[in-house]
Symmetry: C2
Subunit: 220 residues, 2 copies
């Protein structure tokens, strides 16, 4: 049986949802590694809708699950139905959706709170000893999830000093890493890669994400 990787999406588009290249690279890396994926997203309104041409909010209302379904080609589940027993590993692409819809990290930094369903999924994977892969800004959101729990994962978001300081302020540890590599916390089974936090192009994103997926599947 191929290993099954849950992928949590946060919309569709870097400025208000899941980063599309990172999400597609994750799905591709999972299939190329011989595993299968199952996509999930929270069924709730997006924090906002951003015109990706003008980088300005449009005032529209869109739903995170419905827009995430674009990346998943319609084959996606409500995050409320997530069960740790139904997957071997969890991978979460980045994009502002991670910082706006899976948490409010985009607005509150180290004082952020996570989406309850997202926090429950990540904590349940950790408690079950199953690996979690966090891409781009998502490691900061993982730090939000574990703040105050006594769990102190080692994470990377690349080199951005402000985000790294937030991660440390929340009680996690940050180490620098190029976008073509990943950081593995063996004890907590948490793997992270910077992706577009520092990648120059989609080729670098794919290289780092492939390494992350390989490590996540090794730990699964």
């Amino acid at each position: 049986m191929p290993k099954k990787v849950a992928v949590i999406l946060s919309g569709c588009g870097v400025k208000d949802g899941a980063e599309i290249h990172e999400a597609a690279c994750a799905l591709l890396a999972i299939k190329k590694a011989g595993a299968d994926y199952v996509c999930y997203a929270p069924n709730k309104p997006q924090h906002d809708v951003v015109d990706h041409l003008k980088s300005a909010p449009t005032g529209e209302r869109r739903n995170v699950l419905v827009e995430s379904a674009r990346i998943a080609r319609g084959d996606i589940r409500d995050l409320a139905s997530f069960k740790v027993s139904e997957c071997d590993a969890l991978v979460i692409p980045g994009g502002f959706g991670s910082a706006k819809n899976l948490s409010d990290y985009a607005f509150k930094g180290a004082g952020a709170t996570p989406d309850p369903g997202f926090a429950a999924a990540v904590k349940a994977m950790h408690a079950a000893g199953k690996p979690v892969g966090a891409i781009c800004i998502t490691p900061a959101v993982v730090a939000v999830v574990f703040r105050g729990t006594g769990v102190s994962p080692t994470l990377t978001i690349g080199t951005d000093p402000g985000t790294a300081a937030d991660i440390e302020a929340m009680g996690s540890r940050h180490v620098e890493c190029p976008p073509t590599d990943c950081v593995v916390d063996e004890a907590n089974k948490i793997v992270s890669t910077p992706a577009y936090m520092s990648a120059a192009h989609i080729g670098e994103v794919y290289e780092g994400v492939c390494k992350l997926v390989k490590e996540v599947l090794r730990l699964a």
Copy 2:
């Protein structure tokens, strides 16, 4: 100087726009081959907006260029500004956007008409002897563009008999091809691959698209 590939997008999502996996795989394949890409899309309303969870139209209005900008991370140009002199090759991902926004093939089959800007771009590339790569359903839209012109490219959309018959009815030639390969029309410099017309998963899409990009760059 790396070769420059224009990529024409038709929205963001398989059911009403550009197929996201195919678009991301094309951008990745172009970068991995050492070339650069420049994205374009027509600046006009989408034919429709489809809820990708329910597969039902929503009645919303969205713009093809603005939604395509999600795939391009904001770095995209109006197709009206397309100049053959500014690129070495052209690649067009599939998705219903190709059949709804770059043409009305989804509704009129072999009697379809193309978007004027799209038709002008494809014809200008052909006239300049520069290669065109067409993915998924887009080869049928290329056949729409060349119907009645005396140009009769050899194309593939995989094995779907109805679409193949439409391509032949429009004066192009169809040959069968698996999704992990591509068909090269050397004389017309048009390369096509079936992608999700028959691919079982994103890994097969990427394999076929990598071969298409390699052939397109060889012809450039």
